[in-house]
């Protein structure tokens, strides 16, 4: 067991070192994708399957697509990097060793017994009707936090869009795939997407009781939307589409409305009425899944880069 963990630790650190030492940008990016996969296994070893699933779907899968595409586009331009000076390297190394050392010391001197909110989380779990404590924390105990995080996602989309040149405002992002995609890719998208949609919805649904939830299910749905776009079966939508914008804000908006109704229904902001918590939580999560599934592909597709008249 301990050998497995040690081996995994060496692997993760080794791949991380490779991503920063690689000479070419592309191999650094490939190293980062491998790193994300390994990290998901580390999370499983830390008894965090929910985090592992998020890391596998977003940290490795969706981020991998984003980075591979970006590195491919950037590699078309001339690289003009002067190698860093020796002084800078030494100073940076000293700083890094210092920070890592302090962190490692902090890890060794964590308070014992460890502070924990697990008993509190467990005490009210029955009242929420959920079986997965992580979902309960996300949507019930710390719901305000999660709602704001959804707002951050919308802001990120606005930020990405605002990078567009004025003349393309309201148009479509660049296509994710080649003009004439390989027939095998089209086949993969046609077969994998329906299966993935079922699995994504299932992961959201079982997230109430088992590892899974709105983030993980939404990320898998988003990935399916991306593969369909990579196969050019559909195009990234025009960013001025009303339906698109509605889907983008549906998650945080529904969350906020339910939260604001809290004082009327249950006596406090973001409180759920007793006995009615679980259906309400699933209702909110449903819209969150929709928003996440729309947001992530838009973030990967980037700013609009063509008018896209139809």
């Amino acid at each position: 067991m301990i050998l497995f963990d040690l081996g995994l630790a060496v692997l993760v650190l080794g791949v991380a070192a490779w991503t920063i030492a690689a000479r070419e940008m592309f191999s650094a990016v490939v190293g980062y994708v491998a790193y994300g996969l390994l990290l998901a296994i580390v999370w499983v070893r830390l008894y965090a399957p929910d985090v592992a699933l998020t890391e596998a779907a977003i940290g490795s899968g969706v981020t991998g697509v984003l980075l591979v595409v970006a590195s491919k586009r950037l590699s078309l331009l001339p690289q003009a990097d002067a190698p860093p000076g020796r002084g800078l390297k030494r100073a940076a190394a000293a700083l890094s060793v210092l920070v890592a050392g302090v962190l490692a010391a902090a890890v060794l001197t964590l308070p014992d017994p460890a502070p924990s909110l697990a008993p509190e989380a467990d005490r009210e779990l029955a009242a929420t009707g959920l079986g997965n404590a992580v979902t309960a924390v996300l949507i019930a105990y710390r719901s305000f936090d999660t709602m704001l995080e959804k707002v951050v996602l919308v802001l990120a989309v606005v930020g990405v869009w605002s990078v567009a040149p004025d003349r393309f405002w309201g148009g479509r992002p660049a296509p994710l795939g080649p003009p004439r995609p390989d027939a095998a890719l089209v086949f993969l998208a046609r077969v994998l997407a329906p299966i993935g949609i079922v699995i994504g919805v299932q992961m959201f649904w079982v997230g109430a009781d088992e590892p899974g939830g709105a983030f993980q299910g939404g990320a898998i749905l988003a990935a399916m939307a991306m593969i369909v776009m990579m196969a050019r079966l559909t195009e990234p939508p025009r960013i001025d589409s009303g339906r698109l914008r509605l889907a983008l804000i549906a998650g945080p908006a529904v969350f906020l409305v339910v939260g604001l109704a809290g004082p009327l229904m249950a006596g406090s902001f973001f409180a759920y009425p007793a006995g009615f918590a679980k259906p309400l939580i699933l209702f909110i999560e449903g819209f969150m899944v929709l928003s996440i599934a729309v947001t992530l592909p838009l973030l990967v597709a980037g700013p609009p880069s063509r008018k896209g008249e139809e």
């Binding site: 095998a184 993969l188 994998l192 299966i195």
Partner: protein
Amino acid sequence: MSVLLGLFSLVAIGAGVFFFVAGTLALLRFPDSLSRLHALTKADNLGLGLVVLGLLPRAGSPLAALKLIVLWAIVQLSSATVAQLIGGALRRQDAAE
């Protein structure tokens, strides 16, 4: 019966491990990209397939077993397609050179 099933699991998983080892060795040792691709798909399909086969008797319920099979089928689908795509990309690159 359970002893037999246990033995079956061991043999299948052992064979799966063998294919992963063989696939990795081939990835490291084979001389050119296309033959490495060929070896990789063996590890992808047979290695994982045999591991799944070995785990089937240990699955708690028929549904859990079905989940394992679906998982394997998904990997089959995507790894076979990716092999095809990578092969195509290799050929285009070679033609361009």
